[in-house]
């Protein structure tokens, strides 16, 4: 199996993602420059965090026009796995691969801290090694993480089990006090209806080593590798 990490001008979590895949998942991984269009040979593509195109216009709005994104769209349509983290989540929303949009945090501040996430659906390719309702400690670092969508979209997300992570208290309670950015219904991460595209605001790649305060993020990447491994048998 092979992972790819897309690199836009302004990506800054690309090396972290690469490190986690190679060291903690133990799988081959390559960088994919945003001008490239060939994704043959990859099983999963990670869209990393950062400030692609300086967040000009809207976060993620300009990255969606990069040549690689056309290929990512086809890649996702073919059922391959796409995983957007933070700015990557914003890009996937702008590109229409995930519904809704990430708006400015309700408190206006850039928030950088560890938060608790409740796993709402462990029956996805990205969470199959994580128990449902388990609370993960994973850092956020964003100014635009306030997930917003209309009522029809929200109902669809709920009904189809597309809400994968919610901000919660350390005990796993979903409360407004545990919501760092004002996201609708404490949504921290969602997948598409087909379950092969995931976007999340928190940074699991920054929570893969005990030394960094938490290794809860590893299970997300390992779930994905587990899924791909089972498919190729």
């Amino acid at each position: 199996m092979k992972f790819g990490v897309v690199v836009f001008p302004g990506s800054n979590c690309d090396h972290d993602a690469y490190h986690v895949i190679s060291k903690h998942v133990g799988q081959p991984v390559d960088f994919i420059w945003h001008q490239e269009t060939e994704l043959a040979g990859f099983d999963a593509v990670l869209i990393p965090g950062g400030f692609s195109y300086g967040d000009y216009l809207r976060a993620g709005a300009l990255a969606r026009f990069s040549p690689v994104m056309r290929s990512v769209r086809e890649f996702a349509a073919a059922g391959k796995f796409v995983f957007g983290i933070c700015n990557g989540f914003q890009i996937l929303c702008e590109a229409g691969l995930l519904p809704g949009v990430l708006m400015r945090n309700r408190g206006l501040h850039f928030i950088c801290k560890h938060v608790d996430l409740r796993v709402e659906n462990s029956n996805t390719p990205f969470t199959n090694l994580v128990d449902s309702d388990r609370v993960l400690s994973i850092p956020v670092a964003h100014a635009e993480g306030n997930y917003t969508c209309d009522d029809a979209t929200f109902n669809e997300l709920e009904e189809n089990g597309q809400i994968v992570f919610r901000y919660c208290t350390p005990d796993g309670e979903v409360t407004d006090g545990a919501n760092p950015n004002g996201a609708r219904s404490n949504i921290a991460g969602i997948c598409n209806r087909e379950r092969n595209v995931l976007g999340m605001m928190p940074h699991p790649e920054r929570a893969c080593e005990e030394l960094l305060g938490s290794n809860d993020g590893r299970d997300i990447f390992r779930s994905l590798a587990n899924t791909i491994g089972k498919m190729s048998i």
């Binding site: 216009l57 949009v101 708006m103 400015r104 945090n105 309700r106 408190g107 206006l108 917003t148 969508c149």
Partner: protein, 81 residues
């Protein structure tokens, strides 16, 4: 020829930046301001060979495909000669 594009948040969409400006205005003593909503303004310089209808169509396409996110924003296009 120039197109002016105004991008504004849809009504009902929370605008924390507008709220912060409103609070500042109030604390500076500005009176009678009920609300402030922040938006974006673009000047698009178009080729003079385009007629007004074509210029409007092109600027509108630009606004809908790039400048505004239809999930949360509305846009308005004006052509200035």
């Amino acid at each position: 020829m120039k197109a002016l594009v105004f991008v504004t948040l849809k009504s009902g969409v929370l605008d924390p930046q507008g709220k912060a400006i409103h609070h500042s205005a109030e604390s500076l003593g500005f009176a009678g301001i009920n609300d402030i909503r922040q938006g974006k303004y673009f000047e698009i310089f178009l080729d003079p060979s385009l007629d007004e209808a074509a210029a409007f169509a092109e600027a509108t396409r630009l606004a809908s495909e790039i400048l505004a996110n239809p999930v949360i924003e509305d846009y308005r296009v004006e052509i200035v000669k």
